[in-house]
């Protein structure tokens, strides 16, 4: 009986902690990308499951073979679009680079010139995604001698369908 009462007493605490966990507005870290079997490659391996860093955490920043110029050249060569009036704003593609320099879990957000969410013409977003996925020069990073996985993003400045700049 005492055992039962103890369980009865502890039960609400257990429920409360579960509820609190479920109700959090945030992932463990801002920008975390969960695996989605509809979108992601099941064979993509993270080298360190517990934490995925941001690309700037190692202080080297943007780390690509041939530097940012090589990424810009790739998009300049591959991205083709006719002028599409009002297709203007920013598109961010973020993804994970694992410690071997492989990429996956690509996600996309976009805004118009006033920072409102925007759905761009698919001919634009699909091209950008395809080219981003084809980039092979991302370097594996280390922090304090340990190999890490990291989040990288690319922001594309689009004006009337034309690619004007790539950030960061």
């Amino acid at each position: 009986m005492i055992r039962f009462l103890k369980c009865l007493f502890l039960f609400p605490l257990f429920v409360f902690s579960q509820e609190k966990e479920a109700k959090s507005l945030y992932p463990n870290f801002v920008g975390d990308i969960e695996f989605n079997k509809e979108l992601d490659n099941e064979n993509f391996e993270l080298c360190f499951d517990k934490h995925i860093y941001q690309y700037f955490n190692d202080s080297n920043g943007f780390d690509y073979e041939g530097e940012k110029l090589a990424v810009e050249n790739e998009f300049s060569k591959e991205y083709k679009s006719k002028i599409i009036p009002n297709e203007t704003g920013l598109i961010r593609i973020n993804f994970i680079v694992n410690c071997k320099g492989q990429t996956d879990r690509f996600r996309l957000i976009a805004m118009d010139e006033d920072y409102n969410p925007k759905e761009f013409d698919k001919s634009i977003t699909e091209q950008l995604l395809r080219i981003a996925k084809s980039l092979k020069g991302w370097k594996g990073k280390q922090i304090k001698g340990n190999k890490i996985d990291y989040y990288q993003y690319l922001i594309f400045k689009i004006e009337n369908g034309q690619l004007k700049e790539i950030l960061p």
Partner: protein, 266 residues
């Protein structure tokens, strides 16, 4: 020494607020929110707990602008312009003095939103009765940022006017890259004479690879092969030495620490 300290002033301004200031002003709610916010110090900006602490602070005092700004930082750094803008707009609405210069710089630096940065700087200029100050990393006076934005938007003459007005301001000491930016704008309208003058001033002040690169381009256009080669080699040398336009925040912080040490020593 005063000038050096002023360059790094933005770092001091945007530190954790002094909670007692709210108390002295009779704002006990912001004081309580501020005290609570100190708990976030032990968390990384991207962590859930960091965001949740500032949410709690906002519940205590919905006018606590600092909380919105702190929450916005992780979104800025991860390129989430949608969430960042909502949060930083709230911070600006509540306290434009602290946050409008910061938003202006971020729009330029992180999102290449030249029109937006100009709008913010011009709004700040219309509201402020004081010097509008520097970018958060201390690299540029905000009027120089405005000039750069106009230059990118192809309003070169307007940009040059803004650069010169700022550089000719009596109390102003040219920033790390001001003459480089002026030189590039002259170069783009093919005013090579003034471009070279500006690049020379930049060389004397803070020689960087990009500066030598543009000089080499001008000498090439002027068919002065010797100076073209000299500057091309100089550009490569400076680049190899990592003397480039973009200096990292950590370098700024190191300089800042050195400045503080020097101040304390004197």
């Amino acid at each position: 020494m005063k000038k050096i300290i002023l360059i790094f002033f933005p770092f001091l301004v945007f530190a954790q607020p002094n909670c007692n200031a709210y108390l002295y002003a009779g704002d006990t709610l912001q004081y309580k929110a501020c005290i609570l916010a100190e708990k976030a110090d032990k968390y990384y900006q991207f962590q859930r707990e960091f965001q949740e602490i500032f949410d709690e602070a906002i519940k205590i005092s919905p006018n606590f602008a600092y909380a919105y700004r702190e929450k916005s930082t992780a979104y800025l750094k991860s390129g989430d312009f949608l969430t960042w803008k909502k949060l930083i707009d709230k911070a600006v609405d509540l306290d434009y003095v602290q946050n409008l210069p910061y938003r202006a710089w971020c729009r330029y630096q992180f999102f290449k939103d030249y029109k937006g940065a100009i709008a913010d700087i011009e709004k700040l200029d219309s509201l402020a009765t004081y010097d509008i100050g520097y970018s958060i990393n201390g690299d540029y006076h905000l009027n120089i940022v405005k000039g750069v934005c106009y230059s990118v938007l192809n309003q070169k003459k307007k940009a040059i006017k803004i650069f010169l007005e700022q550089l000719n301001t009596k109390s102003y000491d040219a920033g790390l890259y001001d003459y480089y930016q002026l030189g590039v704008t002259y170069y783009q309208i093919k005013d090579y004479k003034n471009a070279l003058k500006s690049f020379e001033k930049q060389s004397q002040r803070n020689d960087i690879a990009e500066n030598a690169y543009y000089k080499s381009k001008i000498y090439k256009a002027l068919k002065n092969n010797q100076k073209y080669q000299e500057n091309k080699e100089l550009a490569l040398k400076l680049y190899a030495e990592n003397k480039k336009l973009q200096i990292r925040t950590r370098n700024i912080l190191i300089v800042f620490i050195i400045v503080l040490l020097l101040v304390n020593k004197n």
